[in-house]
Each structure stands twice: as structure tokens, then as C-alpha cells.
């Protein structure tokens, strides 16, 4: 015997957690690297590091073109997030709180925009827009993005709904509430936090979407498109700084959404206890 079963188990455990740690490091390595270079006092994005500076952040925040793109990003992301959240909530309610004749077909339809390659979806939408003579602009981007974000918002709202105790609604019905009262007085207050989380995630996904946006945005170009055209040109520390700002903004939004979702989970777990 090479060792006791106990030591074999502890070696296996160390291997497992080593592997898990490696995977998480792999996931965060690129993010850490751009953060590092955004503070590096050199125009060239390469080692060795030259010193610490905030210049790249100052430069990005003073760039009128970037700020204009940011404005369009908001113009697109807010309506997209609202639309995707409302439709996602309707889809999640239909899937978890009603009896559909073909639930699998409906779920398949919902996830179609996730599974179809984005470029193919975008060119298909481009054909329809040109056939109908619709001008590309903010409206078309909002509709296009809503479709590809819908699967995510549906999953988030559904994950809250499946945890809600259906007995609450049954009790409401037994006490004489009709279905719109049940929705207004019981379901909606309990899923409100889930809806907020879905809105935040949808906002983040919308602001970072590139492929569909680039095909159907026309002349109103959001930040993601501007970054892409700069990035094709060269790697610069101000792009690093911009990327870090975007990541920090996105993380703040996602963290706020997650926090709200945990609270939703905690609150929805309490009545069942």
C-alpha cells in the first residue's frame, strides 16, 4: 500500500480544490491584467510595468466621442432592459404558474435566439429590415437586443418563481381573490426583487452586446461599437481604462441585482418556514 486511505482522500481533496482554484484564476486572469495595465504609466501595453498613473482614466473620461457613445448605450439599454424584463416575466409566469398546452415548444421558442448564431440572426433581421424599408436606429437595436436577452431574464424571473410557495396563491384563491388580485397582491410583491435583478442583468448584457448591435444600429453607435472600432486599430492603455470602468460599472450593477435576488430568496423562504 502506498498510503493509508485517509491520505489518499486528502490528496484527492487537494487536487480537487487546486483544480477549482485554477479554474477561477483562469476566469479572472484577463480581467486582472487589464486592470493592472490601466494604471501603468506607459503607452505600450506590455511588461515590464513603468509606474503608477491615473492619466488613462482622465483621458477616457474627457473623451467626447466616448461620452456620446455612453449616452447612446443608455438610450438603448434602458428600454431594452424594461422590455426584456416585462416579456421575461410574462414568459416565466406562463411556464411556472399556468398550464400551457406545449410548454416544451414554448421554451424552445424562447431559447431559439440564444442558440441561433448571432451573426445569422442579425443578417436575417437585416434582410427583413431592408425588405420592409425600415431605417436602422435605436428602435431596431432595442428590439434585436431584447430578443437575445429574453432567455436570460426569463431564467432569472423563473428561478425566483419556482422558489415561491404556491400555497400562498392557493390561500389567496381560497379566500376569494381573483387571479388579477392574486397577481397584484401576492405574486408581484414577491417577485419584485427578481424583476429588479432581471432588469439589471438585462441592462448589463445590452450595454456589452456587440454582434447584433453592429448589424442593425445604423448611425447611432453605442459604446460597445466605438470600443470595437478603436480596438481593431490598436491596444492602448486608455482602452484598458475604459474596459475597467465598464467592468466595474457592470459588476456594481450585477452585484446590486444579485444582492436584491438573495433578499428575494430569503424573504420568499421565510413564509414557508
Amino acid at each position: 500500500m502506498a498510503g493509508s486511505p485517509g491520505s489518499r482522500v486528502s490528496i484527492a481533496r487537494r487536487l480537487l480544490w487546486g483544480h477549482v482554484g485554477f479554474v477561477y484564476a483562469f476566469m479572472y486572469l484577463p480581467v486582472a491584467v487589464i486592470a493592472l495595465f490601466s494604471f501603468n504609466a506607459s503607452k505600450i501595453v506590455a511588461f515590464p510595468l513603468q509606474g503608477f498613473t491615473f492619466d488613462w482614466y482622465v483621458k477616457v473620461l474627457g473623451d467626447g466621442r466616448i461620452l456620446g457613445g455612453l449616452g447612446i448605450t443608455f438610450l438603448v439599454a434602458i428600454p431594452t432592459a424594461i422590455l426584456a424584463t416585462v416579456l421575461g416575466a410574462m414568459a416565466a409566469l406562463a411556464l411556472t404558474r399556468s398550464t400551457l398546452k406545449h410548454p416544451i415548444a414554448f421554451a424552445g421558442l424562447l431559447f431559439l435566439p440564444f442558440l441561433v448564431p448571432k451573426v445569422i440572426l442579425a443578417v436575417a433581421q437585416l434582410i427583413v429590415l431592408s425588405e420592409l424599408g425600415i431605417t436602422k436606429g435605436i428602435t431596431t437595436v432595442v428590439l434585436g437586443q431584447t430578443l437575445i436577452i429574453l432567455p436570460f431574464t426569463t431564467l432569472i424571473v423563473a428561478s425566483v418563481l419556482v422558489r415561491l410557495d404556491p400555497r400562498l396563491e392557493e390561500a389567496g384563491a381560497d379566500l376569494g381573490a381573483d387571479s388579477s388580485q392574486i397577481f397584484r397582491r401576492i405574486l408581484f410583491p414577491l417577485m419584485k426583487n427578481g424583476l429588479t435583478a432581471a432588469f439589471f442583468i438585462a441592462f448589463v448584457l445590452s450595454s456589452s452586446e456587440y454582434v447584433v448591435t453592429s448589424f442593425i444600429s445604423g448611425r447611432s453607435q453605442p459604446l460597445s461599437i466605438l470600443v470595437a472600432s478603436d480596438f481593431r486599430f490598436d491596444l492602448s492603455p486608455s482602452l484598458d481604462a475604459l474596459a475597467v470602468l465598464m467592468v466595474v460599472a457592470n459588476l456594481t450593477i450585477v452585484a446590486a441585482g444579485e444582492l436584491i435576488r438573495y433578499r428575494a430568496r430569503y424573504n420568499s423562504a421565510r413564509p414557508a418556514d
Binding site: F47, I120, E131, F231
Partner: protein, 289 residues
């Protein structure tokens, strides 16, 4: 249930309508376009199968479709191997911080495609993190240029991009794996290898297939990563479709390639969905037990 069937239809119908108008109809129109042809700068609406003949006869397009499928399969397998122990650890060895582990895994997804690709360019470039480190330690004297703009780089970044989807699929499968089955097997004298082969692997196979299908489809459809990381190897079937809709202006041929790819992907996904649906895990997820 608090909601009657008609309520379900009223909720689902507007969503279905949006999806049909925004996704199904455009894809149907794309399919119709694949039977048209281009005459100079106009699209002629005479039905023809010439585009499909061109796709089938062209070694380039066949090769691109084949390579996309091969890439999808490679990344699906690599991410399955990497994700399997991670999903197991999160499902069975983490108790209090389970949500935190899952959220941490998903956060890089929210940084956006371009930021991630940009970051990998910095990591893999000839003056990037890995090359500078290797030169500093003296392991190599010249930067390894093949680290970036190569199929290797493309596959590393594709694995990075879609690994979280694989972990999620497997994690769901591990969550519904009953530990008592493993205890029973152990009590009956089964070794760890037998338990893995006869119980754990078959019971997590649906999650494995679902995750692999997701990764596969997303890799085949990825546009930015091969283009911005792969260098001269970055021409893919997706970028070919993109070119035909842009500078090359042959929408019908582009539509025919896109339709062919969608049909192949559709067949493979349907096959995987059938395998998952036939298993007990798939049934329990659908029925919500």
C-alpha cells in the same frame, strides 16, 4: 394552480408573437433568400437551388462548416473535462457559499465579449503576460508568437468564453444526484471507479450533454473570438457569412450557407434534446420535481 389555462395563453402569446416576428420570421425569410440569386447589384427573386449546389461543391465552404463543427466539438470536450470536477465541487462540497461560487463564475460573462477578447490579447501577445513571464524566467529567449493569432489561442479563449455554461449544466445535474445512491453502492462493496462509471457518469450524462450542446452551438456561432484572436486562422464559416452580407454582397449565397449551418446545428441539437428528454433527469426538470 392559481392561473387557469387561458391565463397561460394570454401570458405566453405576446412573448411568442415577439419571438416569431423577431426571430422565426427573419430566419424563414433568410431561408427563402437562399433560393434567390444576385444579378450585378440587384437580388433576383427567381427560385433556384444554385446556391446550395455552390455550397456543396465548394471545398472551401464545406471545409469551413466542417472546421466550425470540429472546433465546437473540441471546445465542448475540453470544457466538459475542466468543468466536471468544478461542478461536482460546487454541488457536493460547498454548502454555505454555493450561490457566491456560482455568481463568481458568471461575473466574467458580464464583462462583455470585446473586453474579454481585448484582455486575452494582452495576456497572450508577444509582449504579453505569458511571454514576458517566460522571458523573465529565462525559459525562452524569444517570445512565443504562436501564443496569439493561432488556432491554439482561439480555442483557449473560446473555452474561457463558454466554460461557465458547461459548469452550470453539470451543476444542475449534480444537484439532482442523490448521494444515498452512492452510499448504497459503497455499502454493497463497489469501488470508487465502479461508482463513477456505473452511477455518477450515467446520472450526470444529461447535464453533460445539455452543457456540451450549449457550448458546441455557441462556439460554432462565435464571430468575434476567431476573428480577433485567431489572426490568419480566424476565417470561419460565420465570418464568411458576414462577408457575403457585407463587402462581397451575395445575400442569397450567404443565406444558403447560413441555412445549411442552421439545419446541421438544428439536427444535432434535436438529437441531444431527445437523449436528454428520454432520461429521468430531463423528465424531472421538465415536470419541475
Amino acid at each position: 394552480m392559481a392561473f387557469a389555462a387561458d391565463r397561460g395563453v394570454r401570458l405566453a402569446a405576446p412573448v411568442a408573437l415577439v419571438l416569431v416576428a423577431g426571430c422565426v420570421v427573419p430566419l424563414a425569410v433568410l431561408f427563402v433568400y437562399s433560393f434567390f440569386k444576385v444579378d450585378f447589384v440587384a437580388i433576383v427573386h427567381d427560385p433556384t437551388v444554385k446556391n446550395y449546389v455552390r455550397v456543396a461543391a465548394s471545398a472551401t465552404y464545406r471545409g469551413l462548416i466542417g472546421r466550425a463543427i470540429l472546433s465546437g466539438a473540441i471546445v465542448a470536450v475540453i470544457s466538459a473535462v475542466i468543468a466536471y470536477p468544478v461542478a461536482w465541487a460546487i454541488a457536493k462540497r460547498v454548502y454555505l457559499l454555493k450561490s457566491a461560487y456560482l455568481t463568481l463564475l458568471l461575473i466574467p460573462l458580464y464583462t462583455g465579449d470585446l473586453v474579454r477578447i481585448f484582455a486575452w490579447r494582452v495576456v497572450l501577445g508577444s509582449e504579453g503576460v505569458i511571454n514576458s513571464f517566460l522571458m523573465w524566467t529565462g525559459i525562452v529567449h524569444e517570445p512565443i508568437r504562436a501564443l496569439l493569432f493561432s488556432p491554439f489561442a482561439t480555442h483557449v479563449v473560446l473555452t474561457y468564453d463558454y466554460l461557465p455554461f458547461m459548469v452550470m449544466g453539470l451543476w444542475l445535474a449534480f444537484e439532482s444526484l442523490d448521494d444515498r445512491l452512492l452510499e448504497a453502492a459503497r455499502d454493497l462493496g463497489a469501488g470508487e471507479v465502479t461508482i463513477f462509471r456505473r452511477i455518477v457518469l450515467p446520472l450526470t450524462a444529461p447535464g453533460l450533454i445539455a452543457g456540451a450542446m450549449m457550448v458546441f452551438v455557441l462556439v460554432v456561432g462565435d464571430y468575434l473570438t476567431p476573428q480577433l484572436i485567431g489572426g490568419s486562422s480566424g476565417i470561419t464559416v460565420i465570418s464568411a457569412i458576414n462577408d457575403l452580407f457585407g463587402t462581397a454582397f451575395d445575400w442569397p449565397l450567404g443565406s444558403a450557407i447560413a441555412s445549411s449551418l442552421l439545419i446541421i446545428l438544428g439536427l444535432l441539437v434535436t438529437l441531444a434534446a431527445l437523449v436528454v428528454a428520454r432520461s429521468t433527469w430531463g423528465r424531472s426538470v421538465v415536470s419541475g420535481e
